[in-house]
Amino acid sequence: MHIRTTCLAYQFLTFFNIFFLFISFSQSVAGSDPEPDIKSSIIISPDKQFDFAEDCFSNKDYLTAVGEYKRFIYFFPGDERVETAMYRIGMSYYLGRHFKKAGDSFNAVIDRYVDTDLSIKSYFMISEAHVKLNAFGLAIINLNNLITLTHDEDVKDEAYYRLGWIYIETSSWEKARLYFSKISAKNKTKYRLERLSTELNKEKSIPKKDPGLAGFLSIMPGAGYFYCERYQDALIAFLLNGGLICAAYESFDDNNNALGGVIAFVEFGFYAGNIYGAVTSAHKYNRKQTGQFIEKLKNNTKINLFADVKNKGICLAFEFMF
């Protein structure tokens, strides 16, 4: 019994010694680590983080820029550049063609900051994002909200100018003229309204085809296509429909009623298709001509109002095609 107790005591002492040796060793090892870690680690300052995000943005690496701007906002929420970072997130999404997310990001700027330069620019960018998504109605509502909220004459004028162009995009010429006319006298030269209105008046000369007339002419197969300047389609429609009508007639004439019925059934599709196609062709023709006119108008007269990358104000560019 005594021997057993002594053995246990020795075992306990051995274990105790090993344990303390290990502890002291581990402390010495651990103690050697922190100093080099501190030396090798990088402390990111707000300036470094923001500069890195700006670098990504200017190098057109927009998705990385979004992440870095978000990191900046998260770690340095009290920095004065948070608003700029939020605006840049919107711009990164916009330039990266993520228009829905861009709109949401600009809305976040508007919700947080009121009546600042960037919040005003955010309003404009929201409408740009809506236009890119073909949501013209939302773009118009947004700009009208801005006109109601702001007291700055220049901002109102820019909103009117943008509204006018949105209406041009939708071929609503009269509404476009109305909004251009609301621009104050002092900014009429800046937006080159005289030239714009002269060019805009040429919309009456856009060549157009009447879809109703195209459909009516198609009673004679191919005539509708011919009216819409689709001469090959007109010839095919005429020959195909003429051939099928003759075939159906001949079949019935030869008392092959079943065959005549099948041919008439097929012919019905082609005849109706000829009318439908002529009406669609007239609409396509009008759409194409209007699109070309708007494109020419943009190239000749549109002033490019785009919030610049370096936040130095508004960039004004004018382009004229000879």
């Binding site: 879809p211 296509y225 689709r230 001469y231 090959q232 389609d233 095919i236 429609a237 195909l240 159906a248 019935f252 009623n257 005549g260 019925g261 008439a264 059934f265 019905f268 599709g269 082609f270 109706a272 298709g273 000829n274 439908y276 196609g277 009406v279 669609t280 609409h283 396509k284 759409r287 194409k288």
Partner: protein
């Protein structure tokens, strides 16, 4: 013996009635299966069988020679699915008449598998009446 003009009229009326019935059936099916889009897609219109037969047998042997994108058969399938049998049939006939002619000069081009094709989807032909 049925007279010839009456025969055509009866044929067209039957066709239109069939289309109306079918259009209703289609919308019901879509409503019923709206939570799972895949199931509704499987409810295929038997009007599409001839087109599928053409695509799976004739076109495979004949080769894809349609200069338009989507091809005429694909366009017809999309038109039938989008607008039902009646308008689908009319749009399909219209496309067959236009295929490879003036449309190739007027429509924008896309490059598919290295081949330059004229881009003429269904929404390029129903934009003026269907949103």
């Amino acid at each position: 013996m049925i007279k010839k003009p009456y025969f055509i009229i009866i044929f067209v009326i039957l066709f239109m009635n069939y289309n109306t019935c079918f259009a209703e059936q289609k919308s019901t099916v879509t409503k019923r299966h709206s939570p799972s889009f895949g199931t509704a897609e499987k409810q295929e219109n038997f009007v599409l069988y001839p087109i599928k037969f053409y695509r799976n047998t004739i076109s495979r042997a004949d080769g894809n020679r349609c200069p338009m994108y989507p091809s005429c058969s694909q366009y017809c399938i999309e038109a039938f699915k989008k607008h039902g049998s009646f308008l689908g049939w009319i749009m399909c006939s219209d496309r067959l008449m236009r295929c490879g002619r003036d449309e190739t000069k007027l429509s924008p081009h896309v490059v598919i598998h290295g081949e330059k094709l004229s881009f003429d989807p269904v929404n390029n032909n129903d934009f003026w009446w269907h949103q």
